[in-house]
Symmetry: C2
């Protein structure tokens, strides 16, 4: 397990209950010293939240290794420790708790260092951070998940598998989506040890595997003097390898990302045969193959018609559509420093598909990747119009997963908090739908 | 194992040999995509190093899972993969290799993505970074180690234990120093599993445990209505707990950091009895207790005299002095943004102990923490005058460890590269001593 760099952790910020009553809230704090220490060396933590909470250093309770203490109990106790590698849980009493959303949390943490002259004691650490409460809104009729794609670049540099799954579970998500060649160590042949750990972590964090991302790499051998195209049989081989591995890890959906042959992302024609050859296996494994409808491809497009045609032609129940909500983006992704408007693909400004189009294909949609880029501190999404999108999905009868795909700036640790904001936002909107 | 955020990794940058000849150099590159991929999708990597090397994309060789390939071999091959979680090793032929020191390394990496239109292919990733070659200089008569203290704030957020030990070994260090309550999970009672893994990692990375940092927390119960001072018996208990644990993990030295009672860091008087009560155990375990001489305490100081007096009085071979090279700092640590010169302790400007003072106490010195703060791209230390310090140590007959303690800015991942620079610098200087 790894911790976020800020002292105040996003993960773990939640209301707490005693029986049916919400009695306060809690959040996690990373040890600011270079070492762990006996908890009797803590001289308290003052906490401020927006204009809602302002408590003195002796008020919050502290939880270490599953046991909770008052500050006075820590002072008098022995053997309780705040380890360097584990965040302390700080609980603040507040009748009714905090409302859903982003909060400005400030701390003043005091620690006694025996080796620093008294006149400079206690050592005091101040930090203010905007973090998002684990949402309370039920968010029906949808199910909520997170794709580990959200943690791109963070995964493997500041997040390991367990830390990522803990962050997913902490937003109240019940589903986790992965990329096969990305999040499975030793892909395509993970060790038994890795698979055992995968299932142990799923159980520990109460998560179910949802969708598994794969690739049909049509350009696998397209460089060099011996360059050649990928055959449909090879494409089927790739897809079937991932269907089997996905099933082994408990996934119900496999999204093959298919190589393209044109500027508007028309898939390589081998896709049809590669998929058709794999439908019997998909049925046998009870896994649904679901290519994505992804910007710049809109819903009304020959590619989508072809996918639907395959379903109708074969009568399969193991092929469907995956909608990526990036197609509804109706405001531009901000230009990067030095980037000029004409220098990048136009679709980055958003192709703004009308959510009403969902109705036409809803019966084929089996999974939704809830793509987004930036949600600000007021919980406003800067690109995706969630209200009409979610209303259209509900109207169309969709009750499956909304699986977060954060695709914004890759600033270390930012993805964790952005995913929290998205879940808080879309569950609140879902609760308010007609 | 975790990777550094930059595509070009510091760890792993080294010359390569075939037999006795240095035939080139290699470095590691993190996969820039959000997924791992088949290595036949690599379209090469152009590499530039200073004005010394400039090779085209088809020149470097690639190593995956211990096997090395030309680019043409990757194109024609099957089943070789560049996993998301593992850096590729890129080897560039260069007769005689690179000289020790910091180098400006630039890459242009090309990857083929089947799902992006041909007109935008290959995907090209450019990066330039200053990284330090694993030093070739032998650096005698000293031994070289690293304290995991160097990785403060990185440890547990961007470095786990194995990644940290791999970084230590990669500078050619043979010794590793830890802080007991900091780097031992479950301190003071690590699991057998943790201990087994500790020894397995030491063996894997060819490292020996050197010094173990502990604390005599004299203010353990100094807050609250029941506040009380720590007794000498309790201080001895703390020290003995750490002596036993240090021994169990293979350490030869234990540095207790003792609580202080004055502005100039005079230790709590209980230290004498706490130590004397523990000398028999130290002898039994063959572990040397070595408090540190640490800025602002200079070598010529009553505290140091007291330490020496204990050695002379008891005749013990299991108590000695640890020198922290921060006492030789002769230029200021830069002010932080907004910090004014008078607002911080004067010792941050450096107490500039004369390295000639080492001679007076050299026979008692058992370990050296090679404290430093900032080494620039020209390999110049901004605070510590290594040449006279290392000359004085050599003249005094010291042949033990120089154990890095990086104490500069806590920018994520910076510590890794700073430690590399220090080892490159001090080994080069050591080789040039009279």
């Amino acid at each position: 397990m790894l911790l976020e760099r800020d002292l105040i952790q996003s993960v773990g910020f939640r209301n707490v209950r005693e029986g049916d009553r919400v009695t306060g809230f809690q959040f996690r704090v990373r040890m600011p010293s270079y070492r762990g220490m006996a908890a009797s060396l803590i001289d308290g933590i003052a906490v401020r939240v927006d204009d809602l909470v302002d408590v003195g250093a002796d008020v919050p309770r502290w939880t270490f290794a599953g046991r909770t203490y008052t500050l006075a109990e820590l002072w008098d106790g022995d053997g309780v420790r705040w380890p360097l590698e584990e965040a302390a849980i700080v609980t603040v009493p507040l009748d009714g708790g905090l409302p859903d959303g982003v909060h400005e949390v400030s701390i003043e943490l005091r620690l006694r260092m025996s080796y620093i002259p008294e006149e400079h004691q206690p050592s005091t650490y101040r930090e203010t951070r905007h973090i998002t409460l684990s949402p309370e809104a039920p968010g029906g009729p949808f199910e909520y998940g997170v794709s580990l794609y959200s943690f791109m670049t963070d995964y493997g540099t500041v997040l390991d598998l367990e830390t990522a799954l803990a962050a997913v579970a902490d937003v109240g998500a019940t589903g986790v989506e992965i990329l096969g060649e990305g999040h499975i160590a030793g892909y395509p042949e993970p060790t038994t040890e890795w698979i055992d750990r995968w299932f142990a972590l799923l159980e520990q964090y109460s998560l179910e595997p949802t969708n598994y991302g794969s690739w049909i790499d049509t350009r696998l051998h397209s460089s060099g003097p011996n360059a050649r195209a990928l055959s449909a049989a090879e494409g089927a081989g790739m897809l079937q390898r991932d269907l089997r591995l996905a099933k082994r890890l408990g996934f119900r959906f496999v999204r093959p990302k298919i190589g393209v042959v044109s500027g508007d992302l028309v898939p390589d024609p081998i896709w049809t045969e590669s998929v058709e050859r794999s439908l019997d296996l998909a049925a046998e494994l009870d896994v649904v193959i679901c290519p994505e409808i992804h910007s710049p491809t809109p819903i009304k497009h020959p590619v989508v018609d072809d996918y639907i045609d395959l379903i109708e032609r074969t009568g399969t129940k193991h092929f469907g559509l995956l909608l990526d909500t990036g197609i509804f983006q109706d405001r531009p992704i901000p230009l990067r420093p030095g980037e000029l408007p004409g220098q990048r693909p136009a679709f980055l400004d958003g192709i703004a598909v009308d959510p009403a189009d969902i109705a036409d294909i809803a019966k084929y949609v089996v999974f939704i990747q809830a793509k987004f880029h930036d949600i600000d501190e007021r919980l406003e999404d800067q690109q995706i119009p969630w209200q009409p999108v979610l209303q259209a999905l509900k109207d169309a009868g969709y009750t499956g997963y909304l699986s977060s795909e954060y695709e914004g700036e890759r600033i270390p640790w930012r993805s964790i908090e952005q995913v929290r904001r998205q879940h808080s936002l879309i569950r609140r909107i879902a609760d308010g739908l007609d």
